[in-house]
């Protein structure tokens, strides 16, 4: 995915970050904060916590930009995966799990609410809606809930190989939907 037309490109952001120029951080925030925050919020499900994680993610990008290179593919994917990993780490922390026991009902509701609202809001509802739910739930389990493929295989009672094949199918479906 490229940045919006007229906006600064990912390459320029990378160059600034490598130069330790903070404008790189500003541009990254301005161009992609909604996407990055969306992923974090989808995982941690609590707004103020998501904002903390968001700040940590930007610090990690700032501090680790040298470890990004073009053979890792899209820069934005690299950033989003940092956000995803940090968010899942938070969700798995003892503090989070202790609090979640009491907040469970609230956050579940908030999360459903947000899924619908946000999707509507930016008008790409079709992307998720057009995708067969068996694929979107698989992507969500693995990408947002942090299940390993082995855990998914056990949960859905199917062989690991089938899970892997289905992930590939999910992507090819997703790519067709996006065309």
């Amino acid at each position: 995915m490229n940045t919006l037309p007229g906006k600064i490109s990912d390459e320029e952001i990378i160059a600034l970050l490598l130069d330790k120029d903070k404008r790189g951080v500003s541009y990254l925030y301005q161009a992609h904060s909604r996407l990055i925050f969306g992923v974090i919020y989808r995982i941690v499900k609590l707004e103020d916590l998501a904002e903390n994680v968001m700040q940590d993610v930007f610090l990690k990008v700032w501090q680790n930009i040298e470890s990004y290179n073009a053979s890792k593919g899209r820069f934005l994917t690299w950033v989003v995966n940092i956000a995803r990993n940090a968010s899942i780490d938070v969700v798995r922390s003892k503090d989070y799990r202790k609090n979640q026991r009491t907040d469970n009902v609230d956050t579940e509701a908030a999360h459903h609410h947000s899924d619908e609202m946000e999707v509507d809001h930016i008008g790409v509802k079709e992307v998720v809606a057009k995708l067969d739910p068996k694929y979107s739930s698989l992507i969500n389990l693995i990408y947002f809930e942090g299940y390993t493929q082995q855990e998914v295989a056990e949960e859905l009672d199917m062989p690991l190989g089938t899970v892997k094949t289905r992930i590939r199918k999910a992507f090819s479906e997703l790519r067709t939907v996006l065309k």
Binding site: L59, Q63, N69, N85
Partner: protein, 269 residues
């Protein structure tokens, strides 16, 4: 490495989602460096995932840009710990394992390790087997194709190479001066075949028809649909003492008499 197979293995999707081990990730990146097609494919996969994530876009409640820049200013100048490539395992797992590790635990771990080793081996063997099977399948179909083309060629040599077979070359006339076809004519076996070397494809609703000229009169030898490049012989009726062979273009199904101004080929015996 076969790029198609590598893509089909699904490893790039796994990589894009951050599911690959450090070692697997390094391998993916080294292949991506080496094969530009893989980078194109990886980008397409990552774009798909990014677009999917876009569906969940959300504005933070507060603008965090300023606060982030402030935190960057406050950072110590020391380099940071390297990024983990995947989320940490579940918290609490540590204590669970610590309790389990007594002497029995160690034995259990050893057993698990060997089980894991066997499992890995089994997985590798299965993969190797699957690879081999698909190669076999490819070879089988190659073999089939070669067998077919061999049979055709043997048939051709058998018919045309017969010392009693005589080749009558028919050359192109006005409608297609470059056209060439051959009638292979075997007086002993009483067989005849036509072979097309060069002939424009018949227009829709039309067919080429072969004639033998016997005692100055045309005798119908049937229509044919052979095309240039077919490298095939088509059996045609045997005529005892022809003086010449000719090909005309007729309406589909052929004509009882040749349309002389549509004569494409003519060859004297």
């Amino acid at each position: 490495m076969n790029i198609k197979d590598y893509i089909a293995s699904g490893i790039l999707e796994q990589y894009a989602m951050g599911l690959t081990s450090d070692q697997e990730s390094e391998e993916v990146e080294s292949y991506v460096r080496k094969y530009p097609e893989l980078l194109v494919e990886l980008h397409a996969i990552q774009d798909a995932l990014l677009n999917y994530n876009l569906s969940y876009s959300k504005e933070p409640l507060h603008n965090l840009e300023h606060s982030i820049l402030g935190k960057i200013d406050a950072l110590p100048a020391t380099p940071s710990a390297p990024l983990p490539s995947a989320p940490k395992p579940m918290a609490g797992a540590d204590q669970k394992y610590k309790k389990a590790i007594g002497l029995a635990g160690i034995a259990l771990l050893a057993a698990l390790a060997s089980l894991f080793y066997l499992f890995q081996q089994n997985r590798q063997t299965k993969k190797a087997l699957a690879d081999t099977m698909s190669q076999m399948e490819q070879l089988r179909s190659d073999c089939e194709a070669i067998r077919n083309s061999n049979a055709k060629m043997a048939d051709y040599i058998n018919k045309v190479g017969d010392p009693n077979s005589k080749a009558v070359v028919m050359k192109g006339l006005e409608p297609a001066p470059n056209a060439v076809a051959v009638v292979h004519w075997n007086q002993v076996k009483k067989e005849a075949f036509i072979e097309v070397k060069d002939l424009p494809p018949a227009p829709k609703g039309k067919q080429y028809q072969l004639w033998a000229i016997v005692n100055g009169k045309p005798t119908d030898m049937g229509v044919f649909t052979l095309q240039a490049g077919d490298n095939e012989l088509k059996s045609v009726p045997f005529i005892a003492s022809p003086q010449a062979f000719a090909v005309t273009l007729e309406d589909e199904g052929g004509s009882p008499v040749p349309t002389l101004d549509q004569m494409y080929l003519l060859g004297n015996v």
